[in-house]
Each structure stands twice: as C-alpha cells, then as structure tokens.
Amino acid sequence: MSTVPAWERLISIATLGTARAAGASDDLWPDASIAVAGSPEQGVLRAAAATYLWTHAGRRIAVQPPSTLVAPGDQSNSSALVREAAAWRFGRMLSGEHAALLEEWLSLAAASGRVLPPQWVPVALDHVPRELCLRFASVLGPTARWLVRQNSNWAAHVQPPEPSLDRWNAGTLQERCVQLSLQRVRDPASALAWLQSTWSADPPEAREAFVKVLQSTITAGDEAFLEAALDDKRKAVRMAAVECLTRLSGCAHVQRAIARAASLLTWQSPKGLSRLLRKAKLEVRLPAALDKPAQRDGIEAKPPAHRKIGERAFWLTQMLSAVPPDYWSQRFGCSAAALLEAAAGTEYALDLLSAWSSAAVRQPSSEWLDALCAGWLASGLEAGLQTEALVRLIAAAGEQQPTLLLKYLRALLPSHLDLALDLLKQLGVRWGAEITQLVLEALRDVVRQDQQQWSHARNALQAEAQQCDVATARQQLPKLMEVCAESSPWRNALESLQDVVEFRAAMRQELVT
C-alpha cells in the first residue's frame, strides 16, 4: 500500500485524467478483495465509490480529552423565566420590529423579577446594546455570566467596566475621559488625584474635557483644584472650571459672585397701607466697570457680535447668572414670583429672565424654577425660545420635575399642542396617566378640526407613542379614532400611534400578569 491516502490518489488521477495519469488500478481500491474489472475510467469511478463508502461506514471517532465546561449552577431554578410569548416578542424587537421599545421591555422584565430563558441569552448578548445589557444584567441572569466564560467576546456586555489607572495614563483622550468618569463614580477624591497627576503635561483640549467630566459629580473637595484652573492659560478650560464652581454652593467663587452682584439690584417694598396702592419695585444698576478678579471668575468683557446687548448689560447678566437665585428672595424677603413680576416692569426684563434662568439651572430651587417657567410663558417671546427655556428649567428640576411638567403642560394645553409635544419630546421623560390624558384630549380637538396637510405634532406622534401611559392611551385612542375622518391626514399617524400602544400593552400583559 502506498503511503498517500487512497482518496488523494483517486483525486489526482481524476484531475489529470486516466489518459495521462498511469496507476495500478488495484492499488486504488480500499481492499483488493472487492476490486472489480473494467476500463481504467470505470476503475477510477468504481474505486472512488467504494472508497467513499469504505471510509464513511468505517469511520470511528476517537475519544477527546474531556471538556472543562462547568455548569452555571443556580441556572433557571433561581427565578421565574420570562414566558415563551414574551421572549418571542423580545426576539421580534431584536430583529427590528419596534426596536425602540427594547429598553421598556427589559425594564418591565426586570421589574417582574423574571429572567430570560437561557437559550435566548446568546442572541440577547449579540444584539442588545452593551449599555442595556449592563443595566439589565438581572434579566440576562446567571447564564450570561456563565457564557462569558465560554466566549470572552461578550465580556463587556456582562461585566461592568472597571476603571483602570493604566488606561487612564496611556489611553486616547476619549478613553481617558471614560476612565476618569468611572473612577469618579467609585471614588471622587482618588479620581481627582488621577487628574492632578497628569494635569501639567496634558494638552489644553484634554484639560477642558477632564474638567467637564467633573461637572456632574462636583464636591467640595474639588474646589482648590478648580480655583487653580481659573488661572489656566486656555480660556475653554477656565470656562469649564467656572461652570463647575457655579454649581458648588457655598464655595469661594459663589461668595465672590454674590459680593459682586449684591449692589446691582435693590428692592423697594412698600410698607404699611401703601402696599395696597403701590407695587413693589425692583431697581437695576448696571456694573460700572469690570475688574480683573471679575474677569478671572469668568465674566467676559465683550459680548459676542451676534448679541444685541450693551457691554454693561452683558456684564450684568453674567454676574447674575453666577449667583444662586435663592440669595435674592431671601435677602429681599419676597417670593421669586414677586421678584419676576417686578423685573418684568424694568428696562432689563428679558436680561433678568435669562440670567436668573441660567442661575436657577446651576443652583436649582423649585420655587425659582416654577416662577421662571411662568415668566417665560408670559414673556411674549417666540414659541421656540419659550420651549427651549422651559426644557432647560424643567430638566434641572430633579424631584420636582413631574409636578412642574404637569403644571406647565396644563398651561400650554389645549391651545399649544405643538409646544407641549416639543417640550415632552426634548425632555424625553415618561408621561404619566395625567399627562397622557391631557395630551390626547388636546389632540382630539386638533384632530377633529384639523384639515391641514402638515402638522409638526403629527410627525412627532410616532416617537412620543413610546412615552405615553399605556392604559390611559388605550382608553383615549378609540375616542380619537371616532372623531378622525377616514380621509383625515391624521388617520395614518393615529393608526401607527395605536400600533405602538397596542404593542406596548401586549408587552406588559406578557411580562406582568
């Protein structure tokens, strides 16, 4: 027997052709005893058929070293599994249907305490965005952690990223920002120490980016560092430091801002009986000059070319923006609303409104945010500007946000549906039952009357279907469809809205009940 395997020899003879390749045909058979006679061509074909069968029937697989797979242990017994129907809906979303609702599905599953069946976990790890996988690790369950041991490609989807000093020291700018913010969450002081250790050698763009990372997690421990950053060579770094310091209540920077602005506003509250006759009065005094310490604290000397504002009024707005708004109401012993009302009567009404708004966003106070929202709505400014201001103010509101949002939606609706929807869209928060009710009722009036071919609200509807309260929307939508004519331009938009709502309702039913 030749050492070349029979199959390989057959292939090479067949490739060349028997006319050119000579070969002892008996030698081609897997066993000489089964060889049959024939022409050389038939010999090759028959030997090939016999060899194929010989190897197929005769193949035996060898024992492999045992696999080192360890079971995840507590799998599937620990928690109830997401039911099959719910899992298939999840699959449909992963393959593109209503993909935007994936996050809601995951949060419902997490709230119900259910775990994805193990066989669904690989597709989830492959197709659910990493950030969602990390946030909803409980839904992926122990199987995900176990799978990572078999396939490290999924590690980032399962193990929360750990801050690493090495990557802080050697990474790209973007990576260093990520490391800094991770370390900042874990240990703010040590993150600051990381930052200071490379600060003097970091390029200006990096210094600016790093200071911006600090802003959302600012603490009193950062003050000395930020004060020093006010003397940075690069303006962008200085401005980033100012943004941080104005958010740090009680710090020296804020004290200086108060001292600087204190004399700019005076309050004349009528005493005794005259209170009934005369309104309180706010007097505004423009700053006379801009000294070096004020400029160091971030007050710019020249207004940008596009802003139609005088130099000194520009200084005024910047100085007021750096002062916590509560300072004024406490000092003058009056409400924010009264101050704003009085301000509206001055020559600087809009400057004060926008300066106080910036200040309230930096040092939120629910009384001021509320009064400022009302102030913007009464300002008579262009609608887009009003919404923009409302979004900033309500976004800064923290715990008070739902109350504030509802209050001003009530003020906008039903007459300003476009503005209300815009506000909701930009805030990106979930609507409660009340908001859903309000919006859909307003929508009903519009649908009933509207014959225009285009409406901003109609285009916005689809995205907002994801935020509305499902139960309320299911109640309200049939009433809307009733008043919507078959030929109405609203018809399609309402039907897709209903699709999304129904999809979300089914999602809930499968996961919650």
């Binding site: 067949a14 390749a21 061509e41 197929h56 005769g58 492999q64 079971a71 199987t143 039907e495």
Partner: protein, 392 residues
C-alpha cells in the same frame, strides 16, 4: 407579519363573520374594490382576491389575527363570495375520489412502465459514457467547461425520465438540492396497503424551496413501533403547504411506509381523533452506536445520504468557534456546515447534556429538535436571528 398586524383592526374590515368552519371578511386595500378574504379553518385553506403573490397574504393573516383576538363575531348567513368559494371547494373535493374509482388499466400501466425503463436505461448509459469521458480527460479539463456542459446532461436525464439523477448531476452546482426523488411510487398503491397504527410523535418539520417546488419534510417517531417516519409534502407555485402536523404534538394515526431500504417515507392513511399525549423520546444513541448503525444502513443501501437519529446524552460545546456535540465517552460529532444555533444550544444545556434529534449524514449532524429538562425545543429562525423555540 408586521403588515398583517397593521391590518388586524376591526376598523379596516367590512362584512366580517365566521362560523364553525369558515372565516371571512372584506378588507379595504389600495384598489377600488375591497379584497375578499375567506378561510376554511378545518382544512387550513384560504383565498384572497388581492394580487399579492405571498401566500398567505397579509389580508389573510390579518383576518386570522383578528379572529385570534376575538374580534370576529359568529354569523349565520354566508356572503355570496364565501358561499361560492366553499361550494367550489366542496365540488372539487367530491371529484377527487372519482379519480381513484376508475381502475387503472394494468396493461397500459405496464407498457408505460416498460417504456420508461428503456428510456432510463438509455439515459444512464449515456451518463456513464459521459462520466467515463470526463475521467479520461481529467477533472481539470472538465472544470473549464461552461455551466451548460453540466446542465445539458441534467436536462438529458430529465428527458430520460430520471430526474433523481438529473439532480445529482446538478448537485455540485447547487448543494442544497439534495432531495431523493426519482421514480415516484404510486401513492394510491401505497395507501391501499395496511399501515402501522401507533402514537406518532411529531419530532420536527422543515420547509425548503426549489425554483418551482416547495417541499415540507416532517419527521415522526412511533412510540410502540420505535420507528422513524418521514412525511414529504410538496406544493407547486403559489399553492400553500399543508399544515397537517405540528411539531411537539403526538398523533394517533395509521401510516403506510413507501418501499425503501431502509423504509422511511410514509403516507398518512388514517388520523384518529386528537390525542392528548406528550411526545415521547425515541431510543437514543451515543456516538459509537450512531456510527455502527449508520455503517449497517450503508451496507444495505450504499446510496443512503442521511438518516434521522436521536443522539444523547450529548454535551454541546464550542471549540475553536465550531459547535460540537460530545457524548459521555468523550467522542465528539460536528454539526452541519453553516449551523448557527451553537451558542443557543450551549446556553440551553448550561453545561448539562441534552438529547438532539437530527439527520446524520455519516459525518455531521443536522439538528432539528432538542430535548432538555423534560422540554422540547425546535430550531427556528426569526429574520436573521437563530432561536430555539419551545414546542412542548
């Protein structure tokens, strides 16, 4: 499906109704007249007047979804378009048995059969000469031949009434075309024979599509007989494939085997009323038994391409990015090329062995259904996603 869901709203429909057997409705589409949709729930037949070539069309699916959501009321009166259709169907059903009633002329049959045999023999001889020629010249030379060189031979085999051979000639060009269809057996003759009544577990189902022909393969396993059975169903063009078997069900039926070595393909002769039984696990093999039995089958039929098997206990593993099943003696088998459910299997098993039903071709297993912790899963796909769908 998404299109159908958008139609599953009562507002889109007129003339909706159903009775025990039929379901109907008129859906306003883009045309002037509404599309008339009717469904026979018992025979799983349907018709829609829309021009869509998708079967079932979105209107039919939408109507069925409506019914599932209980949005269709039972109605005693049938609209004309429903009456007409169900009447036609009943008529067609009546004419069918009459074909069986006219006894075939045995002489004419023998003549036809002889004629075909002669043609096939001539075709096979031609094929051998052609193959001998290729081997004489060498495959290297054959590789430079145009596509028509191969397809002409295939066409000649079709002319010679040996389409099974034709497929094999084409096979190198279209690997997925691997159906064992050659000389068809007379179905009425098969049906006339006595069958095997058993509780048959429906282990899995697959559909494949050729240019004109859609094929559905359903694998069954008898609880008492311990035999596998394969039901082949075909649909041409726009015909729907029948939905007579549901994976995960267990049916009480009499099946008749076609002739074969070994026997596998069956016809369903009688279906007895629905059985409330769980599907049963067939006899399981480890890797050594799998190979030994396959060798024995090859000895009886050297042309055997693949055979249904249940392998267990098998631990799914991934090694070098490739999926394997490993039995408890440490022997591994590979899975069919392009298998995409490797990680799903691994996750389902979670480090414990499971049982896999599939087709074994002597080298790799093509898994169809999986049994794990007393539950059954079938391999499925949703868009591009490989999934395991729980069926029982």
């Amino acid at each position: 499906m998404q299109a159908a869901q958008s139609l599953a709203k009562p507002g889109k429909w007129g003339n909706l109704g159903r009775n025990q057997r039929l379901l109907w409705g008129e859906c306003q589409g883009s045309g002037a007249n509404p599309y008339q949709v009717r469904v026979d729930l018992q025979d799983v037949a349907y018709k829609c007047s829309c021009p869509s070539r998708k079967l079932p069309c979105k209107h039919t699916l939408g109507l069925l979804l409506l019914m599932i959501n209980d949005a269709v009321q039972v109605s005693a009166a049938l609209p004309d378009f429903v009456m007409e259709w169900s009447g036609n169907r009943a008529k067609r059903a009546e004419t069918r048995p009459s074909k069986e009633a006219t006894a075939p002329d045995p002489e004419a049959q023998a003549r036809r059969s002889e004629k075909r045999e002669t043609r096939v023999l001539a075709g096979v001889e031609q094929l051998e000469v052609w193959l001998t020629d290729i081997i004489g010249q060498g495959l290297a030379a054959a590789r430079t031949q145009p596509l028509s060189f191969w397809s002409q031979m295939a066409a000649r085999q079709v002319d010679a009434q040996a389409p099974g051979l034709a497929r094999r000639v084409r096979a190198p060009l279209a690997v997925e075309v691997r159906q064992l269809i050659g000389w068809t057996q007379d179905q009425d003759g098969v049906r006339a024979r006595a069958g095997i009544r058993d509780h048959w577990s429906v282990l899995g189902r697959r559909q494949s599509e050729d240019e004109q022909l859609r094929t559905q393969r359903t694998w069954l396993h008898g609880r008492e007989s311990q035999r596998f059975a394969l039901v082949l169903e075909f649909a041409v063009g726009t015909q729907p494939l029948p939905a007579t078997f549901v994976t995960g069900q267990c049916i009480d039926a009499e099946l008749v085997y076609f002739e074969g070595v070994p026997e596998l393909r069956v016809l369903e002769k009688v279906r007895h009323p629905t059985l409330q039984a769980r599907i049963a696990l067939p006899r399981v093999l480890d890797v050594t038994a799998l190979q030994t039995e396959h060798a024995a089958r090859l000895a009886s039929n050297p042309w055997l391409e693949r055979w249904p098997v249940m392998v267990a206990p098998m631990l799914p593993i991934m090694s070098g990015g490739q999926p394997y099943l490993q039995d408890d003696t440490g022997r591994r088998i590979g899975l069919v090329a392009g298998f995409r459910h490797g990680w799903n299997l691994l996750a389902l098993a979670g480090g414990e062995p499971l049982a896999v039903f599939g087709e074994w071709d002597g080298e790799t297993l093509d898994p169809i259904t999986v049994h794990c912790r007393e539950r059954w899963f079938t391999l499925a796909q949703l868009g591009e996603l490989p999934l395991l769908s729980q069926v029982a």
